[in-house]
Symmetry: C2
Subunit: 421 residues, 2 copies
């Protein structure tokens, strides 16, 4: 059985890649996935947050805004993706206020971000603590809050619903899925075999011939590797770099009720009457989830958090690093005990934290969401699909055309995102 | 005992970094090295080849030419570095001739590279075979040779002598060396400790406090990591990326004598009467070594050669990948049996194969020679030393000034080298 294309990974990027490939080219396509169903790896473990008009780098804006517009149109069209535009709120302290305000001037002008003064913040969010002058706050590096950037169109969606949207379309289109099928090796072969047991030799042109999986070998003309945090494990034996490394991220959730109800009773930010997804100085965030009325909390830690696949959520991480800071700014959090916690792995492109999509031989690598993969997945899938058929230009949702090498490494324009929180 | 600076690694980059640091700043400096002496890791395993005026990318030219000029001046000053400017010769086949000739026009104009016709080649190197039209040649992807690029000022040096040059100066300057001392961990700590057993926490400013080694813990204000192919092993636990990966490279050596004498009896290329270091299509090279009259042969293989530390030279690699191609072009090689072989690991910067030098906290990472580290080491050491004292500008040998962020990642201008052979 020879497929036209095998997509490795049924996470959100594998699904969008397969979708755009089949939509444009048809053909016999197989998606292979280690988990029991679509998007049950790191996609399922993500917050599903999306920024809308809240990036400064042009590549970030291009690939996220086109993607999110598509998601919004899907939901407007009647397919519920669980999108809640509760907004993003980034608190600024006395130290970083001027720098951030200067960096997002363009977003203020475009109307996708608004500056809130300290007084506006205090009047909208009665239970917030902005002074932060005591010894404990100083010890943790917290400084008085001077204002905030509010992004009204940002929010989160339900990643499982989003995955099902693409999955259902793929099944309709006749794409074959093999779940519970772990890819163990990408099998390298000579393009023109000579029948020698040790080929391919260094002097032979090469290609990927098949994937060796826990359920046998599957051959195809082309392969898309959409394996996120697992990508480098498959590429190391081939001596190919994905430019990404895995890093653990953790989420801690507590049901609303009691004092935490305060987060769900905030006027003036969104239609749901909640606090936006809020990022406080030094990194912790809190996100009120509408559907299950729970509060999600987390922190993307950097130096000291080792690279590697690790799926164990640690209570101590919450109590050491997230809770002490959140509690200073939101005293109602005092005494919270998360009732659930989970960990996933970002696939971090360490160069500029934007996704990576490139072709080498007949292999397309599409990965490196770096924590913003869900909000860029539709565009990334389009680019991967274009690379699979050697198309030079890709049309993103809404008609914007970009070169298919946009997310490659050699042609990359490194443009660090200035709005990091 | 608190050092001003600890340099991890006494390979060529560690030595140049320590040298330029102490020369400019003095201070109490320790160099820690796992091997028994200087430059006994991958530096010792390298060919020691250098290109002079044979790069197209401006960064490559800048950092290699300044470095090689320094080496040449050292040798002219009476300190023998074993430099032999035997030249580089890159054979071009019918397929790549036009492309390469176009790419190096600027080098032809500058006079650092010359174009040789097929006839000139044949008349200078009587024993070369340029036709390559038989079935075996075609099978291996060899095509008729149409000409060659000759780089008269390139050559190789003795890496051990080069290392001793810096090492002796460092000892003179009072720099302390600890050999047979393997660094097991870079110890992360909070800048302002609070005395908690689990610090540093995510919200604390951090620094490297010490290196934990096989011979105890050593503390310093700053650290330079010049650990080449071993760098990422030390950085993974910290969640920092070096942007480099290790890949095995092998050299096979055969003494001259018999038919191989032909390589040492070639007129018109250099003062030594040898064939230049010669690169043939599809990658294999052959280098006549003057001092011990031996022929070094090798090949930098790419796809299919796994990333990772691996120091085992494989006879089969030579007979499968190097020998069959070299023999077609140099029939005198027929039947050669290398009498020695060794393997080392390149530290490959997978972005653009130029070195990497950046500072994070009080740690400077200087690595990623990618196979051209020896010929860039003096400049890389100057840049690392400048980063260690937060100097924005670096003066390379000969007075050229460059920003110290030149080899950083965020500020990087990716400029792929067009002259790859």
């Amino acid at each position: 059985m020879m497929y036209d294309l095998i997509v490795v990974g049924a996470g959100i990027v594998g699904l969008t890649s397969a979708f755009h490939y089949v939509k444009n080219n048809g053909g016999k396509v197989l998606v292979v996935e280690a988990q029991a169903g679509p998007a049950q790896g790191n996609t399922a473990r993500s917050v599903g947050g999306f920024r809308m008009g809240l990036f400064t780098s042009s590549i970030n804006r291009l690939i996220s805004e086109t993607t999110v517009k598509y998601y919004l149109d899907v939901q407007r069209g009647g397919y519920d993706l669980g999108i809640h535009q509760i907004g993003y709120l980034i608190l600024l302290d006395e130290l970083n206020y001027d720098m951030y305000v200067q960096r997002v001037q363009e977003l203020f002008r475009a109307g996708t971000a608004k500056l809130l003064s300290r007084d506006e913040l205090k009047s909208k969010v009665g239970f917030i603590q902005l002074d932060l002058v005591d010894e404990e706050a100083q010890l943790m590096g917290l400084r008085p809050i001077k204002g905030a950037i509010f992004s009204p169109f940002s929010g989160y969606l339900d990643v499982e619903k989003l995955a099902m949207h693409y999955y259902e379309k793929l099944v309709e289109m006749g794409v074959e899925f093999k779940f519970n099928t772990r890819v163990e090796r990408l099998k390298l072969a000579a393009v023109n075999k000579i029948g020698h047991p040790r080929e391919p030799f260094a002097w032979q042109e090469k290609k990927i011939e098949a994937v060796e999986t826990s359920r046998g070998l599957f051959e195809a003309e082309k392969f898309i590797l959409a394996t996120g945090a697992w990508s480098q494990e498959l590429l190391d034996p081939l001596g190919i770099d994905s430019y990404i490394k895995p890093k653990k991220r953790q989420i801690f959730a507590s049901p609303a009720g009691g004092e935490l109800e305060a987060f769900f009773n905030v006027k003036g930010f969104n239609d749901f009457g909640t606090l936006p997804m809020t990022f406080i100085p030094r990194g912790p965030f809190v996100a009120p989830r509408i559907r299950d009325r729970s509060l999600w909390m987390g922190l993307s830690d950097d130096i000291g958090r080792r690279w590697g696949l690790d799926f164990e959520a640690e209570d101590l991480f919450f109590y050491d690093n997230v809770y002490p800071l959140l509690r200073k700014i939101f005293p109602v959090i005092e005494g919270v005990r998360p009732q659930s916690k989970w960990a996933g792995c970002y696939s971090i492109n360490t160069i500029d934290e934007n996704p990576v999509a490139f072709r080498i031989m007949n292999l397309i690598v599409a990965t490196g969401g770096s924590g913003s993969g869900v909000m860029k997945a539709d565009s990334l899938g389009r680019i991967a699909a274009a690379l699979a058929v050697d198309r030079k230009e890709v049309e993103l949702y809404g008609g914007v055309k970009v070169p298919s090498t946009l997310l490659g490494i050699r042609e990359r324009r490194i443009e660090p995102e200035m709005l990091v929180f």
